[in-house]
Amino acid sequence: MKRKEIRLSGAGGQGMILAGIILAESSLFDPELYVVQTQSYGPESRGGATRAEVIVSREPIDYPKVVKADILVCLTAESLNKYGQEVAAGGVVIADDSFAGEDYSPPEGVEFYSLPIIAKARDEIGLEVTANMVALGAVDHFLPEIDSDCLEQAIEKRVPEGTEEKNLAAFRTGQQLLSARV
């Protein structure tokens, strides 16, 4: 495995950056894995689009940004629109089903999953803000490099105190979304 590029995109407040950090932090448990996580906010520190990027690799990582994502997650139509074509062949796109599907077609050789991420978070977990963890659960499926356990540990460490259970539940819900489908 040379490097795997993951891009998590959405709107400010959807917690994509936290999801990125957790993803990156889960790599701590594997001494062989290199990881770099970056983000970009809009020019305003609040609102607007946000994007977190994580690259994992078994070799030192030079360029720290995603060139073509191996895994792309989009929680807004805007982000799918913006990044939907910058996906590597063999990669996957995961988008929320509230908007995704209609006019999006993935590039050649890219799998596309339109999943009820936000809906599950809202309806099953009862907290829409856990959509980021649901999404992470879905991503887990395509990340054999990282142990699901490690991800769970990273979640426990990084989410606000008292919300660990909800977030773990959301994560697992996300995992199931795909194990059910793929």
Binding site: E44, S45, R46, G47
Partner: protein, 273 residues
């Protein structure tokens, strides 16, 4: 009926990007209501702001507006007012912008008693940079740079500006919009350095970290703690402890700076003949 403020707003820049429940919008709206009442000329009014969430106000206000470096708005405003004393010059600043890095310019503008209207949005925190303590953060509160509780004491800015020489000093709060409008109306009519501290809430970077609840709770805190000056004075010393007086706290008629400079011009011209 309340004044229409839309004619003073750049409609295409709205909605603003202040957070939900941020008091900055309330202060700005009531500043405009006060401005409307003052009947000053919109085309002859310049608003200058520094950097901070409060500093964003100039982007929304339909005047000549200038958004400068952090803490320095008053210096630019001084140049504008000196250059053209006909202009109404308003400075919008924050408690960090105006009282931390900009503190010197504030006291010197007061000392000169130059006719600039300084509106300081006091939310007790550095909002824009996400929650470091400011010179107005209460002792004991937590902030990202005061994880063990703030040991700094905060200024009483109304005391400070008065003792520096401001000739109109007032304090209002988002929770008391009617008083605020009146303060602004009177403040805009005053000729000389006008200092208005407007207490406002930052639910995101102050309220949340200090477990003060949301915007609504923070407004209720204001309601309980900010009381009219006359009422404040009637209280015993112990009762005053946790109270903050509001209203027009001080007003005076010292000659304004640009007027005094007119005399320099006159005397220089005289001495030439």
């Amino acid at each position: 009926m309340a004044e229409d403020i839309n004619r003073y707003l750049r409609q295409d820049k709205l909605p603003h990007i202040w957070c939900p429940g941020c008091g900055h919008g309330t202060i700005m709206a009531n500043m405009l209501r006060g401005f409307a009442r003052s009947r000053l000329d919109q085309d002859k009014t310049v608003v200058v702001s520094g950097i901070g969430c409060s500093g964003r106000a100039t982007g929304y206000l339909d005047f000549d507006t200038l958004h400068v470096t952090h803490g320095r708005a008053l210096t630019f405003a001084t140049g504008i007012k000196m250059a053209n004393p006909e202009l109404t010059v308003i400075v919008v600043t924050g408690d960090g912008d105006g009282a931390a890095i900009g503190g010197n310019h504030l006291i010197h503008a007061c000392r000169r008693n130059i006719d600039i209207k300084v509106v300081l949005f006091n939310n007790s925190i550095y909002g824009m940079t996400a929650g470091q303590f400011s010179p107005m953060t209460p002792t004991g509160a937590t902030a990202t740079t005061a994880p063990y509780g703030n040991i700094d004491q905060n200024f009483d800015l109304c005391e400070l500006t008065r003792s520096a020489g401001a000739t109109f000093v007032a304090r209002g709060a988002a929770q008391q919009p009617r008083q605020l409008i009146k303060i602004f109306e009177k403040g805009f009519a005053h000729r000389g350095l006008t200092f208005i501290e407007a207490i406002t809430q930052c639910p995101v970077n102050y309220g949340r970290r200090n477990k003060l609840g949301g915007a609504r709770d923070m407004l209720n805190w204001q309601k309980e703690h900010i009381i009219n000056q006359t009422k404040y004075e009637s209280l015993a010393a112990e009762e005053r402890q946790d109270k903050i007086p509001s209203g027009i706290l001080y007003q005076d008629k010292r000659e304004e700076y640009t007027e005094r400079y007119e005399k320099v011009i006159a005397s220089a011209r005289g001495s030439e003949n």
